[in-house]
Amino acid sequence: MSEPTLRTEAKAVEPEAAPQERHPMDDLLREERLPHIWCSGCGIGTALTCFISALLKSGLDLDKVVVVSGIGCTGRVAGYVRLDSFHTTHGRAIPFATGLKLANPELKVVVFSGDGDLVTIGGNHFIHAARRNIDMTVICVNNFNYGMTGGQAGATTPVGAVTTTTPYGNYEHPFNLPYLAAASGAVYVARWTVLHVRRLERAISEALAKRGFSFVEVVSPCPTNFGRRHKQRTGLDTLRYYHERGIIRHGADPRSVDIELGGDIIEGKFVDIEKPTFSDCCAGIVQKAIAQ
C-alpha cells in the first residue's frame, strides 16, 4: 500500500520542536503515573485539583507537606501527588499521619481519603484525632459509597439509597460528617461539593492554614457505582443535582446539615474556632516531667 500523503504532511508539521507548555500543576503531579485510575465524571480529580491549587497558593514549603491516604479510589490520591506521600491500609491513614506529625512537628500533614476509609472503618481514629486536636488537615471525598470495591453501602450512605449491598434500599442511619467532626472537636469544618471549585479551594486553603484538626468534606459524584443507581448516569448529572439542591449556608448548625437521598446539600463553613493542639498541651507538661 502506498503511504497516504496526508499522513506524511501531518508528520512534517508535528510540533516536536514546539516548546511543551507545562500546566502550573504539573510539578505537583507524578506525571509518570498518569493516566490515573479514576472513571470519567468522577469527582476525585476535581477535589485533587482544588487541593493542589490551594497548596500552590499556600506559601507552604512543599518539601514539608505530606499526604497520607488510606485505601479506596480516593486513597489513590497519595500516589499521584509529587510530595512525600503514604498509601497506608484501609482506615488507618489518620493514626499513621498522627505518628508522622508528632514525630516531626515541622511537617504539614494532610490526610486525603474516602468516606468509607475515614469514617466507616476508620471512624474511631477520626473522632480521636479530632478530640485530641492533632494538627492535621483531613480532606474526605464523600461519594456515599465504596467506589473502589464496586459500590457497597457504608456509614455515609443515605437512607433509601440502592447500592450493591443494599439492593432494597439502605435502612441504616448515616453519619452527618460535619456534625461528627464538630462534635469530636475539630477546629475547622467545611463542606463543599465538587461543583463549587473556587469555594472548595478556598476552604482547603483555610484548612491548611489552620492550626489543629481541620476537616473538609467534599461531596463528590461516583457515576460508576452510585450515581447510575440514582438517576445520575454521568458525573454531569450529579453536578446538575448539586447545582439545583446545593444551598450555601455558612455558620449553619452542623446538626442541621444531614444529607438525605436526592435532598438539599447544605454547604459552607460550619466551624472555625481556636483551641490548643495536642502538641501545645503536651509541651505544657514537659517542664513538670523534667523536674521529676
Binding site: V66, D84, T88, R92, G99, I285, V286, I290
Partner: protein, 386 residues
C-alpha cells in the same frame, strides 16, 4: 531538651517491662504509641513518664490498630519508634505489621505474652503467640523475633531489636511474656558509650538526583529517605516497583519484591540468629526452649544430670528466623529433643521439621497460666532416654 536523662547508666533492681522501656530509650527510641493491656502496661507507663523528659513523644492511641500505624508514621518521620502490647492487641496489630514489612519500616513491637485465646488469662504467662509472630500478617514474608529470659536480657534485646530493625529495615518483634515482663531483678544499664547503636541507612544521593526509595544496596536493603527531606517519596502497601509505585498488573513486581523482602533476612540469618548452648558437647537429649520456659527448664536439667542423664539446652534467643542449621546438626548426634513451651506445640513443630524424622521430638506442652513444673520437664527428659 535535656538528654542527660536519656541513658540511666547504673545498676538497678528493675522490672522487666521497665527494663524494656529503658532499653528502647537507650537505643534512641523517641516515640511510643500504645494502648494499655496487661501485662505490657508498665512499658507504656514508663514511656509516658520518660518520653517528655527526653524530648520524645508518648501517645496513648485509641486502639492497637492506631498504635501500630502511629509507630510506622513516626518511623517515616525519621524517629525510632516502638509499641508494646499483649495477645489481644497483638492480634489487632497484625494487618499493619504487614504494612511495616511491605514498606520496610524500621520499628519495634513488643508482645508481653499472656494466656489465650481471646482475653484468656490477662495477668498470667503464656507463649502462645509464637506462630502468630511468624505468620500473623497475611502474605509471604520473613520476620525477626527475639525471646528474652530475664529483665536484663529484655533490656539488652530491646536495644538489639532496634539495631536489627534499622539494619534490615523491617519491624522487629520482642516476644517476651508475663513472667519476664513482671519479674524484678538486677538490671545493669551500661554507659552510653558502651552501647552499639545502628544508625538508619540514608540515601547517598541528594534530593532531585534520581533517588528511588526501593533500589536496594548489595545486601538487598534499600537506603531510606523519610518525609520532609525533600525526596518526595511515595510509599505504599501495594506491591510496588523500585520507585515505590504500585505495580499490580502482573506478577513480575511481586516476584521481585517478595524475593528481596524474604532474602534480605534469610541470606543474612547468621547475623541475626543468636542461641545459648549449655552442656551440649555430649548431650544425648537436647532441650530446645526459649524465654521463661527455657529458664524454668534449667532446674529439671540439673535434676536429670544428677540421675546421670546427658542432657543439654539449646536456648533460642532469636526465635525467628529459626535456628534450623543448629537443630539439624544436633539431630545428627543427639538421641532426642525435648521442647517445653507454654503453648500446645508451636516451636516444637519447627524442631520436628528440622529433625526431619531422624530423632523423636517430645513436646512438653502447657496451656498457659503458669510455668512448667520441674517434674513435667524431667519426665519428658527421662522418657527421651528410656
Amino acid at each position: 531538651m535535656s538528654s542527660e536523662k536519656g541513658v540511666l547508666s547504673g545498676s538497678f533492681f528493675m522490672q522487666g517491662d521497665v527494663a524494656c522501656a529503658e532499653g528502647a530509650i537507650t537505643a534512641g527510641c523517641r516515640f511510643f504509641a500504645g494502648y494499655p493491656i496487661t501485662p505490657a502496661t508498665e512499658i507504656a507507663q514508663r514511656m509516658a513518664a520518660r518520653m517528655p523528659q527526653i524530648g520524645g513523644t508518648y501517645i496513648q492511641m485509641e486502639d492497637e490498630l492506631g498504635s501500630m500505624n502511629a509507630v510506622l508514621g513516626a518511623s517515616w518521620a525519621g524517629v525510632k519508634a516502638m509499641t508494646a502490647t499483649s495477645g489481644p492487641g497483638f492480634s489487632l496489630m497484625m494487618e499493619n505489621l504487614g504494612l511495616g514489612i511491605m514498606t520496610e519500616t524500621p520499628c519495634v513491637l513488643v508482645n508481653v505474652q499472656r494466656g489465650g485465646p481471646s482475653t484468656g488469662l490477662p495477668t498470667l504467662v503464656a507463649q502462645g503467640d509464637m506462630m502468630q509472630a511468624r505468620w500473623g500478617a497475611h502474605g509471604p514474608y520473613e520476620i525477626i523475633a527475639l525471646a528474652p529470659s530475664s529483665p536484663q536480657e529484655l533490656f539488652d534485646l530491646t536495644i538489639r531489636a532496634f539495631n536489627l530493625s534499622e539494619r534490615f529495615r523491617t519491624p522487629v518483634l520482642i516476644m517476651t511474656d508475663a513472667e519476664v515482663g513482671h519479674m524484678t531483678e538486677r538490671v545493669v544499664i551500661p554507659p552510653p558509650e558502651e552501647v552499639t547503636i545502628v544508625p538508619r541507612r540514608k540515601p547517598r544521593i541528594p534530593p532531585g538526583d534520581g533517588y528511588q526509595p526501593y533500589v536496594a544496596d548489595d545486601d538487598l536493603v534499600p537506603p531510606m529517605a523519610v518525609a520532609g527531606e525533600g525526596y518526595r517519596i511515595h510509599v505504599t502497601g501495594l506491591t510496588h516497583d523500585e520507585r515505590g509505585y504500585p505495580a499490580t498488573s502482573d506478577d513480575s513486581a511481586q516476584w521481585k519484591l517478595i524475593q528481596r523482602l524474604v532474602n534480605k533476612i534469610r541470606l543474612y540469618k547468621d547475623e541475626i540468629i543468636e542461641v545459648e548452648e549449655l552442656y551440649l558437647e555430649d548431650a544425648e537429649v537436647v532441650v530446645v526452649s526459649y524465654g521463661i520456659a527455657a529458664r524454668a527448664a534449667m532446674w529439671p536439667i540439673e535434676l536429670a544430670h544428677r540421675e546421670g542423664i546427658k542432657v543439654g539446652m539449646l536456648r533460642l534467643i532469636t526465635v525467628w528466623p529459626f535456628a534450623e542449621e543448629k537443630i539439624r546438626a544436633l539431630a545428627e548426634r543427639a538421641r532426642a529433643f525435648v521442647v517445653p513451651e507454654i503453648n500446645w506445640g508451636q516451636i516444637a513443630l519447627e524442631v520436628e521439621r528440622c529433625a526431619a524424622g531422624r530423632v523423636p521430638v517430645y513436646l512438653v506442652p502447657h496451656p498457659g497460666g503458669d510455668i512448667h513444673k520441674p517434674e513435667q520437664v524431667l519426665a519428658a527428659i527421662r522418657r527421651a532416654v528410656a
